[in-house]
Amino acid sequence: MQYFLNGLPIGAIYALVALSYSLIYAASGVLNWSQGDMVMLGAYLGFTLFQLLNLGFTPALFISMAFVACVGVLVQYFILRPLRERKAPPINVVIATLGVAIITRNIALVIWGPDAQIFSSPVSAKPITLGALSITPQDILIVTVGIGLMLVLQYFLKKTREGKALRAVAQDRYGAILMGIDTQRSDGVAFAASAALGAAAGILVAPIFFVTFNMGAGIGLKGFVAAVIGGLGYIPGAIAGGFFLGIVEAIAGGKISSGYRDAITFALLILVLWLKPSGLFLRKTRQKV
């Protein structure tokens, strides 16, 4: 039970990153490898706004999310759109997003330098004990904000005009075009929302890990594994996959050794790809957003 609790905050973070992969994949069929670096950008911006400029945690969160969302739109507009228009093969698009990842990483290196930054938690990291269980206010903050953002995403996808258009494009791109939906625009919306989710994950994870220019690689990969476990492109699956991975890692780290944690993650990935490539949580055929 304690391991379960320990796995929740990191699970929430994985879920946010997994969502960012799945949303773009569902909406535009692109595997965006710069997603992890949007996490890193979010963490750095949050660090700058919260730590250096002394803004509150909430404004720092929203401003970084908005800023990184703009970065996402720029990536879609200047990288993905021209490739799309030239009907570039998917592998070229994937390589282009890898390029974006490397450039982002280097820009961060230039701006914030090579040293790891410490993001001090906005709330206490001292555990509160409830009987045999303990949880820190920081963990509670991460899980609450994480779940809050997932609810906002659900609302956006189910209730707003822009969100419904995004789902339509994800479910039938040709059908959506015939309805007069501008797919370039919906791609832009997907990139913006995904980048914002990544940025939020970055700020939430920052107090747990150090903030470094190459932190995106690790967390990006974990988020991707979570997305695949849940079924890439399947929104509820991304959430379930994120929490599942977080909890499995906490149990593995506690029961076996934290040194094996990453090995277990990737063993899990291989197992899922081998036994059930559509993801653990997808029952019917292809189901999307």
């Binding site: 005009r161 419904k164 258009a165 789902r167 339509a168 479910q171 039938d172 040709y174 059908g175 959506a176 075009i177 015939l178 309805m179 007069g180 939906i181 501008d182 189901q287 999307k288 957003v289």
Partner: protein
């Protein structure tokens, strides 16, 4: 009036439309019949702006729409009901209909149109909250037509609406097409079910290998021996 003038279109380096020309008169049913691969779907996609012809022009009510984007063409009152329906499977009937009205701003008009679409298709009313992907082929076809009507189009392009449906459902589809025409809408109907199409059409064209080879009133083509041999003698 819809005027298609000498359009040529290709996939990659293969030209599949070699100068297709025809017209569709307002308030009438015009049909385009032809065998598999003749270029019917490609032609409709050109009109809807999904495929850009390399040559030729497409005019709607005197305005050149050849280079417009699909979203602009929808806003001009042209809606394509695609081959294979392309409804949104994980959305409810209600949401699908709502997406049909995506480009519209007149809330009052949308509400009115929704009311009569549900009247025209009672099945959509009973399945209002059902996911489109779980409905039968016939129901999905009705949804595709209803969704297109939600755009309040003046010109409806229909690509094989009877495909894969049981004969009794096909009858129903054609009844609906007639009702829609009665409302003053212009219909361009592509069909492989040539007998049905010719029976209902004012004017008909036969397309073969990317070219219009015959035209006439529906009745004329029904009695044309060549048409009979190639398309009706089933």
């Amino acid at each position: 009036m819809l005027v298609v003038e000498g359009i040529k279109a290709s996939y990659g380096h293969t030209e599949v439309l070699h100068g297709v020309s025809f017209t569709a008169e307002e308030g009438k049913i015009t049909t385009l019949i032809g065998a598999n691969g003749a270029g019917k779907t490609t032609t409709l996609n050109c009109i809807a702006g999904v495929i850009k012809p390399q040559e030729g022009r497409i005019l709607w009510k005197g305005q050149d729409i050849t280079t417009l984007k699909p979203s602009q063409i929808v806003r001009m009152g042209i809606s394509l009901i695609p081959e294979g329906r392309h409804v949104f499977p994980q959305m409810t009937v209600a949401e699908n209909l709502e997406m049909g009205a995506y480009t519209r701003k007149d809330k009052e008009g949308v509400r009115r149109d929704l009311e009569w679409v549900l009247e025209l298709f009672p099945v959509l009313k009973t399945r209002y909250k059902q996911l489109a992907g779980t409905m039968s082929g016939g129901e999905q076809q009705m949804l595709a037509v209803g969704r297109s009507l939600m755009a309040n189009p003046e010109l409806m392009l229909m690509d094989e609406p009877s495909m894969g449906l049981a004969p009794i459902i096909v009858q129903e589809v054609f009844k609906v097409i007639h009702q829609i025409k009665e409302m003053g809408k212009t219909i361009l109907l592509v069909e492989q079910n040539a007998t049905m199409a010719l029976n209902h059409a004012h004017h008909a064209y036969v397309i073969e290998l990317g070219k219009i080879v015959l035209s006439g009133s529906g009745r004329e083509l029904l009695q044309n021996p060549e048409v009979e041999k190639a398309y009706l003698g089933l």
